[in-house]
């Protein structure tokens, strides 16, 4: 078996195709644990994992927690709203404090892009990026890959249409980078105000027209549109957005017959996606959630073998 040579999981960008396949294979194996009557293996017994969440999160956080528990890790949950952060403590001081408790792995979700990289520079622990600002959300992209691979049997050659607010989406970035790496035909679609500059250089084809994106798509990935975007002059109204970019049943006819619909959640019914599409047979939104636990177990497992990879503390 190939080995995983990274100390941290900061993003999809640094991963090779072999790394991705190793993670997906490991996750596929670990999925079986969640099907057992006793959903626990002793893999991380005696290891401490800190979940450091500076941003509200329900699904990612519960998914990580469940993955950690199923691997028998000891868990410390740290949320910014109830901590010294509200008293003005900086991220680095928080990191030093936590680091002195000798954790093995730190999972971090933060609203600033690059926050996990800052931790990685000063911490001995393995760092897992659970979403940093508009930058990356690598475990989400990996669970998307596992979901697609499970349903379609492979990734290469498939057409993926990512539709919605690309600018503010870390999922769009991680997915695009990952699926381009894995040989898929990645399309992103949204109003020109919500497509960042030079996004095509990440390996995607860009269109402003949903019909073009959906045409022959094997996978349709819808992104959440935040309501405040209409107040920031990105779009005139959610009503007009729905008319132009909402995933409605009749639009689904453009996609392949065996297409699947995905959404990283939380779903904004009636804005980016209609209920009858979100709940239809081709929707794999709930499979994504189930695969999330397996992917996070795989990451925790693979990184925990690499604790001593980079034992340095860089003074800046």
């Amino acid at each position: 078996m190939a080995s995983f040579s990274h100390k941290d999981l900061l993003g999809i960008e640094p991963l090779s195709v072999e790394d991705v396949n190793l993670i997906l294979d490991t996750a596929a194996t670990l999925k079986e644990v969640s099907a057992r009557a006793v959903k626990k293996v002793p893999t991380l017994r005696g290891k401490t994992v800190i979940n450091l969440f500076f941003e509200a999160s329900t699904r990612t956080r519960s998914s990580f927690e469940l993955a950690e528990k199923r691997l028998s890790a000891d868990i410390l949950n740290f949320s910014a709203s109830t901590s010294s952060v509200t008293k003005g403590e900086t991220l680095l001081d928080t990191a030093y404090t936590l680091e002195s408790m000798a954790p093995d792995i730190i999972v971090i979700r933060h609203e600033s892009a690059g926050a996990p990289h800052l931790l990685s520079r000063v911490c001995h622990s393995n760092i897992i990026n659970a979403g940093d600002g508009m930058h990356e959300h690598p475990t989400q992209a990996l669970l998307d890959a596992l979901t697609i691979r499970t349903v379609k049997g492979h990734l290469d050659g498939l057409k993926l249409a990512i539709i919605g607010d690309i600018s503010h989406s870390r999922v769009a970035r991680s997915d695009t980078i990952l699926f381009n790496k894995m040989g898929m035909d990645v399309w992103v679609c949204g109003p020109p105000t919500l497509i960042p500059w030079d996004f095509h250089k990440l390996g995607a084809r860009i269109t402003a027209h949903i019909e073009e994106a959906l045409e022959g798509a094997d996978i349709v990935m819808m992104l959440r549109l935040q309501n405040e975007r209409q107040n920031e002059a990105f779009i005139p109204s959610t009503r007009e957005y729905y008319n132009l970019y909402g995933l409605r049943r009749e639009r689904m006819r453009l996609a392949k017959k065996d297409t699947i619909v995905m959404h990283p959640g939380p779903v904004n019914r009636g804005v980016e996606i209609d209920s009858d599409v979100a709940d239809a047979g081709y929707s794999v939104i709930l499979n994504q959630v189930a695969n999330g636990v397996a992917i996070r177990m795989a990451i925790l497992y693979l990184l925990s073998g690499n604790a001593g990879l980079r034992p340095k503390r860089t003074a800046r």
Binding site: L92, S112, A113, R173, P196, L202
Partner: protein, 425 residues
């Protein structure tokens, strides 16, 4: 004689000098430049192998005093300047309180006369509190000693206010220095908008935020006849607008560039190192190449540092939360020696224009020349010295440099102000 510098290479474009000679100084002023001065000096300096320039002037620094003495003081900032080869600095008004009154201007000058070994020239605010609404008492500050006006860091958004400021500044023949930034276009941005902001998930600053203000300023300068100086120019299109205004429309507009905008690109932000965060942001390779071209051709008048000290606690934050700005006083001259002079992109004469005669001309200072009778402000460089940039050795109170660890050849060897050696290796 008080002091004689023996046998250095004298480079002074104001006298078309580039030759090995002796420089004689008496009562703080240059009294003689000759192949060999026969008289004895009370102090003599062997300058063989060294290059002797009129004193370098950094026309864009932040000394942080009053208000943020944790990051820099007039004393530490001017010590850093002396160590970096500068004999004079112009300090921007965004202190706390803002230098928008005679009282603050006088405070800075009095403090400088007590603690500074080099000359300090305050820049006054354009508007009260740099709030962009009401003109500051520019006449009062002019009498107290300001050499320019600027709302650097809080640029005037209202074009009518900017027009009035330009009209009014003509009364005192003061240049208007503008940090060009349309705050609506730049809102929320932390790095240059482009491929790298997309890749890094950081909010972008559209280069147009600078360019539209540069164009606005050239149009207003033509109307008002004011002298506009564009601070820290950073894009190809901004430079093109300045060149067009100056060459075709004969408008009195000048500009400066910083060493970091000449030597780093947006790709350097990839590590999320907050020492790569400044305003204007690091730009594309294309922009950087255009600026280097502008330095070589003379389209860019001045190299200034925009020395912006922030103490380490302020900078050791998430990238989008850290303040904008990097220090530059102790690295600028060495970087330009190594990357521009030694590589043959510019001559020693051009270096002298960028660092002395042009800033002196723009700010109307009686400096920037070694002509007989002028103050003996002298920057001595050793073009051969090899060293590494070590922030821990800086005289500045701050360490926020993007150049830590750079290996350079050529840099300051001695700084002389009014005939007194204020710093030497």
């Amino acid at each position: 004689m008080q002091l004689i510098l023996r046998q250095g290479r004298i480079v002074d474009p104001s006298q078309k000098l580039n030759k090995v000679a002796d420089v004689g100084i008496e009562e703080g002023r240059i009294v003689e430049i000759a192949a060999r001065i026969r008289k004895k000096g009370r102090k003599e300096i062997d300058a063989r192998g060294l290059t002797v320039f009129p004193g370098f002037i950094d026309m864009h620094v932040h000394l942080r005093e009053p208000g943020r003495e944790d990051s820099e003081t007039i004393e530490s900032g001017t010590n850093a300047a002396a160590r970096g080869g500068f004999t004079a600095v112009a300090c921007m008004p965004n202190t706390q309180p803002v230098n928008d009154s005679k009282a603050v201007t006088s405070f800075i000058l009095e403090k400088a006369s007590e603690v500074s070994k080099i000359a300090v020239y305050p820049v006054g605010a354009i508007t009260k509190g740099s709030e962009g609404k009401i003109l500051a008492e520019i006449g009062d500050m002019f009498r107290a000693g300001i050499v320019a006006v600027s709302d650097d860091g809080h640029p005037v958004q209202d074009s009518q206010v900017m027009r009035r400021a330009m009209e009014y500044s003509r009364l005192f023949d003061l240049p208007v220095i503008d940090h060009c930034e349309d705050r609506n276009l730049s809102a929320g941005g932390v790095m240059n908008e482009g491929y790298y902001s997309t890749l890094l998930g950081l909010r972008g600053i559209n280069p147009a935020a600078e360019e539209v203000q540069v164009v606005r300023d050239t149009i207003l300068a033509r109307q008002t006849g004011a002298h506009v100086h564009i601070a820290h120019i950073s894009t190809r299109r901004s430079l093109e607008a300045v060149v067009r205004a100056r060459k075709h429309d004969k408008i009195s507009v000048t500009c400066e560039a910083t060493p970091h905008h000449l030597l780093l690109t947006e790709a350097d932000v990839c590590s999320y190192d907050t020492n790569m965060k400044m305003y204007p942001p690091l730009r594309s390779r294309e922009d950087v190449d255009a600026l280097a071209q502008g330095i070589a051709s003379g389209d860019i008048d001045v190299i200034a540092t925009d020395h912006a000290p922030h103490n380490i606690n302020q900078k050791m934050l998430e990238f989008d939360r850290a303040p904008f700005g990097v220090i530059g006083l102790e690295t600028a001259v060495g970087l330009i020696c190594d990357r521009f002079v030694r590589t043959g992109i510019i001559t020693l004469e051009r270096m002298a224009q960028l660092f002395c005669s042009n800033p002196a001309r723009i700010l109307r200072l009686q400096r920037g020349t070694l002509a007989k009778g002028s103050w003996a402000d002298i920057t001595v460089l050793d073009m051969e010295r090899k060293y590494e940039v070590r922030p821990e050795e800086f005289a500045s109170r701050s360490r926020n440099t993007p150049f830590a660890g750079w290996k350079l050849r050529g840099g300051p060897a001695m700084t002389i102000v009014k005939g007194k050696v204020v710093w030497s290796l």
